[in-house]
Subunit: 201 residues, 2 copies
C-alpha cells in the first residue's frame, strides 16, 4: 500500500518555513505520510499582489511581531535562531540547486542544511559561493551541481514550479497540500495537514 | 492571590476572532487565567497600512483560503459556521455597545452572542436594529443601552481603545497580550498565550 502523501511547498527565504522544514520529517514518519518537497519562489507571487519585498518588511508591526514569534517558536523547539541579514535572502540559486538535489538523493538534506545555515547560523544563502560551501559540507562537488542548476532546463523547471504554486492558490509559505487538494498554510498548520493526509487515502 | 491576566483584543468583524471568543472562556478557566475583553476597530489600523477593506477581500487567494480554513476549524470545534454577507460587517455599533456591557455584568455574554449571531447564524450585526434584537435576546432593554453606547463619551472610549491597540503594535485580530507585554496573534496562538500568562505572574 502506498502511504498518503503531502506536498510541502516552501521558499528558502520564508521564515516560518524554517521550523516547518525541521519538524516535518519526524512528524511525517510518525504519521506514516510521505512528504514531497516543493521549493518555489514567493517573489513573483508577492509581486503579483503589488508587494516589492516581504510583507514583513512592508508592514513593520507585523514584521516585528513575526521575529518575536519565530524566536519563541524556535526556543520551544530548541532550534537555534538568528535573523538573516539582509532579510529576505535571495533564494533563487538555493531553489534551483534544491530542484537538482531532489532528483538525486541529497535534496532533502540540502534543503534542511540551507534552512539551518540561514536561520540557525546566520549564514548568507544568496549567492553561488554560499551555496557551494553548503554543498561542500554535505560532501557534494559544487561545480557540476551549480552548472546543472543554472542550465536553461532547470531554470524553466523552477519557473514551472512557481507557476504551479500560483495556479494552486498558494499565497505564502510554508503551504501543505494533500492528495485531495486540501490546502494548509503556515507552520502552525503542519499537524492538521498531516492528519488530513492520513484520512484522505 | 490575583490570577494572571490576559488581554483579549478583537474586532467583531474578524473571522478568526469567532472561534477564539468561543474557546477562550473554558480554556482560561482551566488555565486559571483572567481574561480582559478588549474590543477595538481594525478598520483604522488597516487604513493606516493603506488597506480600504479586509485584506481577505483585497487578496482573494488569501481570502479564499481563510474561508476554507475557518470552516475546517469550526467543524473541528462543532461550531456552526456561516459566511457573513456582506463581509466584513461594520462592527462600530457592536463595539460601542460591548464597551458599555463590559462595564456592567453582561459584556462578555453580549460579545459571544454577537459572534454566534454573525458567524453561526449568518445574522447582520451592522446596525442599531440588529444589535437591539441581540440585546433583547439577552433580556436587556436596547434603547437606553444604545443611547449610552452612542454618547460622545463612549465614542471617545472606543477611539481610545483602538488607539491603544495601534500603539501596542496590534495589526490584526484576535491578539492576546500578557501582563508582561508579550503579544500573540491569531486563534491558533491562544493556548500558547495562556501558557505564557501562567508563567508571567
Amino acid at each position: 500500500m502506498t502511504p498518503p502523501r503531502l506536498d510541502f511547498w516552501f521558499d528558502f527565504a520564508s521564515t516560518y518555513s524554517y521550523p516547518a522544514a525541521l519538524r516535518i520529517g519526524p512528524l511525517a514518519d510518525e504519521a506514516g505520510v510521505a512528504i514531497n518537497f516543493r521549493p518555489f519562489l514567493l517573489g513573483p507571487i508577492f509581486k503579483a499582489q503589488g508587494w516589492t519585498s516581504s510583507p514583513f518588511n512592508l508592514y513593520p508591526a507585523k514584521g516585528g511581531y513575526m521575529w518575536r514569534d519565530l524566536e519563541r517558536i524556535c526556543a520551544d523547539l530548541a532550534l537555534p535562531f538568528r535573523r538573516p541579514d539582509p532579510f529576505p535572502q535571495n533564494s533563487l540559486i538555493a531553489a534551483r540547486v534544491a530542484l537538482v538535489g531532489l532528483q538525486e538523493s541529497w535534496g532533502e538534506e540540502f534543503c534542511l542544511e540551507i534552512f539551518r545555515a540561514q536561520f540557525g547560523d546566520g549564514e548568507r544563502i544568496d549567492d553561488a559561493d554560499a551555496i557551494g560551501r553548503i554543498l561542500a559540507r554535505l560532501g557534494i562537488a559544487a561545480e557540476p551541481v551549480l552548472k546543472v542548476a543554472q542550465s536553461d532546463d532547470n531554470k524553466r523547471r523552477l519557473r514551472d514550479q512557481t507557476q504551479e504554486a500560483e495556479r494552486r492558490g498558494i499565497f505564502g509559505a510554508p503551504t501543505f497540500i494533500t492528495a485531495d487538494d486540501e490546502m494548509f498554510w503556515g507552520n502552525d498548520r503542519l499537524e492538521r495537514a498531516l492528519r488530513w493526509a492520513q484520512r484522505s487515502i
